[in-house]
Symmetry: none
Subunit: 202 residues, 4 copies
Amino acid sequence: MGVLLRRLIDEGCVSDPESPKGRLLAAAARQFRQKGFSRTTVRDLAAEVGILSGSIFHHFKNKDEILFAVMNEVVIAMEERLQVRLSAATSTRDKVRALIENELQFIHGPTGDATAVLIYEWRALSEPLQQKILERRRAYFKLWHDTLIKAEEEALITVEPDCLRQLLHGAIVWSIHWYQPQGPMPLESLVDQVLSLAIKSE
Amino acid sequence: MGVLLRRLIDEGCVSDPESPKGRLLAAAARQFRQKGFSRTTVRDLAAEVGILSGSIFHHFKNKDEILFAVMNEVVIAMEERLQVRLSAATSTRDKVRALIENELQFIHGPTGDATAVLIYEWRALSEPLQQKILERRRAYFKLWHDTLIKAEEEALITVEPDCLRQLLHGAIVWSIHWYQPQGPMPLESLVDQVLSLAIKSE
Amino acid sequence: MGVLLRRLIDEGCVSDPESPKGRLLAAAARQFRQKGFSRTTVRDLAAEVGILSGSIFHHFKNKDEILFAVMNEVVIAMEERLQVRLSAATSTRDKVRALIENELQFIHGPTGDATAVLIYEWRALSEPLQQKILERRRAYFKLWHDTLIKAEEEALITVEPDCLRQLLHGAIVWSIHWYQPQGPMPLESLVDQVLSLAIKSE
Amino acid sequence: MGVLLRRLIDEGCVSDPESPKGRLLAAAARQFRQKGFSRTTVRDLAAEVGILSGSIFHHFKNKDEILFAVMNEVVIAMEERLQVRLSAATSTRDKVRALIENELQFIHGPTGDATAVLIYEWRALSEPLQQKILERRRAYFKLWHDTLIKAEEEALITVEPDCLRQLLHGAIVWSIHWYQPQGPMPLESLVDQVLSLAIKSE
DNA sequence: TATGAATGAGTCTTCATTCAT
DNA sequence: TATGAATGAAGACTCATTCAT
């Protein structure tokens, strides 16, 4: 368990994956991703962690809150992580690379299920909870925005920053459907390919 | 009504949008996109067309078949249309542009709802019907593949063709979530931006 | 077509089996027997005679009336036929044999479907129509009763007539489930076996 | 509660008639008998037991399983009981009497509803479940067969054993429709009448 | 906290019946 | 008479949620 995760758990932002709540969230992420939120029943979730459906409501007020929790954890982690990576990057080019790498790692790493749910089950979340996630999400988008603005100033990119952000985001997110982390192409290579779309290698 | 559409209707590939069946499909596309397949009830659909829920099953065997029909219409039209565009394009560069333009027009034009459903409600379709759509979809992907192979041969692109196809597809598809056709940026401009990701302007 | 049937048709008691109505009744008898009344849809019936479900209601007021018609035809024919047979029989023993033979022939002959429906779909018929059938049925039971009374007077039977009637009727009716007319045992032989239950051969 | 029933409950073969499941089965037997399986709604059943229709599916997977459970209980009990009776009977004549008495008691005793359902709602049961019942039913038929074979060897009966079995079974089963246990004729008397059909009193 | 029986609103689907053409 | 689209009531079944134990 990394030090970042440790801290997030201690702060109550994410659940200990060993706890019943944490195991429930992992199961939820996996099943929501695979079948979609509305085709996943609380019974399905309960079965996976070995409890009965009624017991779920001791951990979450309702099914909606489970979806929210899944999304919330990943939203927080994603932004925290990106901040760390951006600080570590020296050049603006490396910062752009960090944007891409961070997102691809969340999608294809251990948090992949939750990330996919965040992206594809958005509409399933009730309006008020959507707002809460969106609030958190803004900080993340800001990091993208600021970085790409800098890249534009340095003439690294030609496409308008916000448009580019969306295009890259789309290209990255879609990799859920075709990219195989244990296939022939290593993730770093995919990062480079996406980067090459944004920034012309000299 | 265009001549292509006219022909598709006559061939029975798509439904006349004036017929009850056609109006049902339009409503389905709209609602499936907005709320998702499983959160859309047959009552919702019937209400929009002004019939009772039971009457729906006069036109479709079950809810699944409605989803299938929505997807099927757009899959067929999308490929037919792309074929026409590719034939019209002279240079390989123009052909690549046609790939992008065709998809963006389907997403942001009058068939936008059905196209979004095709992309985002895939998992909601039953396995056997998925196969039938996939069969038809292959021809479309082949057109992309062949065109990008040619582009690679002419050194227009640097990223490996199939990888590039997926990246572009993702970037294009994601525009569902942010691009506004009646906003400040015309669609042609968006086409160019995406094209610029793929092909370095000299 | 026999002379009896001819007369019944002319009198409007049964339908001409060539007419749409007659073909509908034959289909109904067959399907009601096979699947039961409530598991047979009017669509099923319409399909078998090659019309659409709506058209059925030009021939019958409702589904109930179809069941009634099936039962009514066979009830009338059964009694008419029995009367003829009883008149032909000379000895009381032959008359008892006629009771048994008549019922077995209706069950295993061309009217088998309708007869089975009469027996096994009784509860499916609405109360008022049940009464109408019962009215007709009484004459038939009377023939059994009178004959068995005579048999008792002649000391041919030992069991109380009405009780015997029910026991024989049950034994005969159940043959629907096991007796094969084209099997090794000819129907006449079955008649004799049943008769031997009722009347001790000296 | 008899010792046999007690054991069947403990073995899980039949449900405790006090339990919700047991009360549901009793209601089902009664209603399936009275109205037939397909004309009985799960709401009807739930209402009789004082729960809501949705709650039924806590106890049974679907409506079919209820019908199966009703039939299964009686099939098991019927065979167990017959075995006990046959063991107790000393002469072959008494064994034949036991066959008849056992069946008549199941039909007109407290298990009458379930027995009637077993006999008259056979077609309503789905094919795979029919097979499961049939499997259990075979042992019961075997007891009849073996006993009647013995009776034939001792020249007690004249009709071929399997044919006689069906004829008697039919006569017995039909008593559902006319015999009144609390009428003038005691059940033992009915048993004797049926026996007299099979075996000539010397 | 966990259980599991019960709830009750809601879902898809069926089907006899109607009726304008 | 036949059609076939539409009706609308009713059916089986699902499932998030509650709550006494």
